[in-house]
């Protein structure tokens, strides 16, 4: 009996799917495009993240500590930093040991395996991330020069102006792409909703008879919901293909830059891309099922 119902639901879903092929294609394409945009948003954010990971959280200065520095040298640097309460925010001062620094480097050099291969957990410098409390960049700059000469310090890096520009650009791009993908996702749900409404209208006589002979609402609804879910799912698979192609072209493009220009950080690791694809497929399936479920419930009051 259960099996009979399942096969009924799939048979009905497939018949209706084929009947409204043009509307179905429109719904699938729209969900594919919107999901592709969602996926691209994720990838762009991740790429910017790689670029900005060192400077996240208002960090303006990084003190790199030599790999062979002694523990007392490290302690010295830390107390020297905390000794500047008018310039440095002691609360936000953060120390990344060699292992943490190496994890960070993996992100920064994601698209530059040559540089990454030169680094190990043993040879990489550890680092202090410094958040300034003063608004005067000159104060920070002069402090950086002082620290350069401290024993155990390898180098001091300052957040350059271009990083600030990139950070701004990143948040702008994020706002725009998230906004656009939300709108497109809403359009996709609307189109799926409309396809299901049309499918239900085409079969209103059948639905009327079903209700009169005592079919439950779920029995009537499930094939339509499956249809919407399938549309969302196909759209998601198409968008995953698009995302894969896009990322491949991007990675190849970035690889042709000279290593060490910083652009290489914009490459997104393939594990992350797969993760995004899983999210897209889940989003597509949910959008399809929700859109059609709402439509099915709305038009079931015969």
């Amino acid at each position: 009996m259960i099996l009979g119902r399942i096969s009924y639901a799939f048979r009905e879903m497939w018949a209706s799917f084929k009947r409204n092929i043009t509307l179905t294609a429109a719904a699938i394409l729209t969900s594919a495009v919107s999901l592709l945009l969602v996926g691209t948003t994720f990838l762009i954010q991740r790429a910017f993240d790689n670029l900005l990971v060192q400077w996240r959280g208002d960090v303006e200065m990084i003190v790199f500590v030599r790999a062979d520095a002694t523990e007392s040298q490290v302690d010295n640097i830390e107390s020297a930093l905390k000794d500047q309460p008018t310039v440095i925010d002691g609360e936000k001062l953060k120390y990344l040991n060699q292992k943490q620094s190496f994890d960070e480097a993996k992100k920064i050099f994601a698209g530059d395996p040559n540089t990454l291969s030169l680094l190990t957990e043993e040879t990489i410098p550890s680092q202090f991330k410094v958040v300034p409390i003063t608004k005067d960049p000159e104060l920070v700059r002069s402090l950086a020069e002082q620290f350069q000469t401290l024993p155990g310090v390898e180098s001091v890096a300052l957040a350059e102006d271009q990083f600030r520009v990139i950070a701004k650009l990143s948040s702008f791009v994020r706002t725009v792409t998230i906004g656009m993908s939300l709108v497109l996702l809403a359009v996709a749900v609307g189109l799926i909703w409309n396809t299901i409404r049309t499918a239900m209208f085409a079969r209103r006589r059948e639905i009327e008879v079903m209700k009169l002979v005592g079919a439950t609402n779920w029995f009537i609804r499930v094939p339509f919901m499956l249809e919407g879910l399938l549309q969302g799912l196909i759209g998601a698979v198409v968008s995953c293909g698009g995302l894969w192609g896009l990322n491949r072209a991007w990675t190849n493009g970035v690889a042709s830059f000279k290593p060490g220009t910083g652009i290489s950080a914009l490459v997104v690791p393939s594990g992350y891309v797969s993760g995004v694809m899983v999210i897209l497929i889940a989003l597509g399936a949910i959008a399809g099922a929700v859109g059609s479920g709402i439509a099915a419930s709305r038009f079931l009051d015969v």
Binding site: M1, G4, R5, Y8, R205, E206, E208, V209, M210, K211, L212, V213, G214, A215, T216, N217, F219, I220
Partner: protein
């Protein structure tokens, strides 16, 4: 089997479809609802299978107050009711057999039961040799027989018929009435709305007469007047 207690149904503000209607139908009875178009016959039928809900009063079917029933239980109420309509409501892309089987299929009846019950009911209505025809290949009377077969295939307690002879010529209509009588004799309660004088006068069943939503007569073995 069916009991209405002071039932009032209004559409919009002005139009009262049924006003303060009370009557009871016993198990196995055959009742005609008569009156001109717009007198509230169809509304009464629609109140009995909860296609409509009354503004005031109670509708009891098979021992339950169906207006207090949650929506999720309504499908199970309807499985105890059969519905026959003036326009048959057959599905044009399904054969006679499939139209009848559909009613069992969508309430989850197993295949072997469908294979048993559908031919039996098609034989009862006299269509055993037209099972593979489509509705448009049948006469009006034959289409109505299919619709009755579909309403009766699940052996409902009650059959609600709304002008079942309304689109048929007199002799075909008589055939449909003989079929309904036969179904009534199996113990099925039948409530039939009609304004067909001849049929009401011929069968001499209980007659409930409506006039602008009000019951003006409830008579055993009545005629149309």
């Amino acid at each position: 089997m069916i009991r209405l207690e002071s039932v009032t149904k209004e559409y919009a503000q002005e139009t009262v479809a049924v006003r303060d209607a009370s009557f009871e139908v016993q198990k196995g009875e055959f009742v005609f609802l008569v009156g001109p178009s717009g007198s509230g016959k169809s509304t009464l039928l629609r109140l009995m299978n909860r296609q409509e809900s009354p503004e005031r009063g109670e509708v009891w079917v098979a021992g339950r107050n169906i207006n207090e029933m949650p929506d999720s239980k309504v499908p199970y109420l309807r499985r105890t009711l059969g519905n026959v309509f003036q326009d048959y409501k057959l599905l044009p892309n399904k054969t006679v057999f499939e139209n009848v089987a559909f009613a069992l299929e969508v309430i989850g009846k197993p295949k072997h039961l469908i294979a048993q019950q559908v031919p039996a009911v098609l034989e009862l209505v006299g269509l055993e040799d037209k099972t593979d025809r489509f509705p448009h290949q049948l006469s009006g009377g034959e289409q109505q027989r299919v619709s009755i077969a579909r309403a009766f295939v699940n052996r409902p307690l009650i059959l609600l018929a709304d002008e079942p002879t309304g689109n048929l010529d007199p002799s075909t209509g008589e055939g449909i009435m003989r079929l309904l009588e036969r179904i009534n004799q199996t113990g099925t309660t039948i409530v039939m709305a009609t304004h067909d004088h001849r049929i009401v006068n011929m069968l001499r069943k209980r007659v409930i007469q409506l006039d602008r939503g009000v019951i003006v007569r409830d008579q055993e073995r009545g005629v149309y007047e």
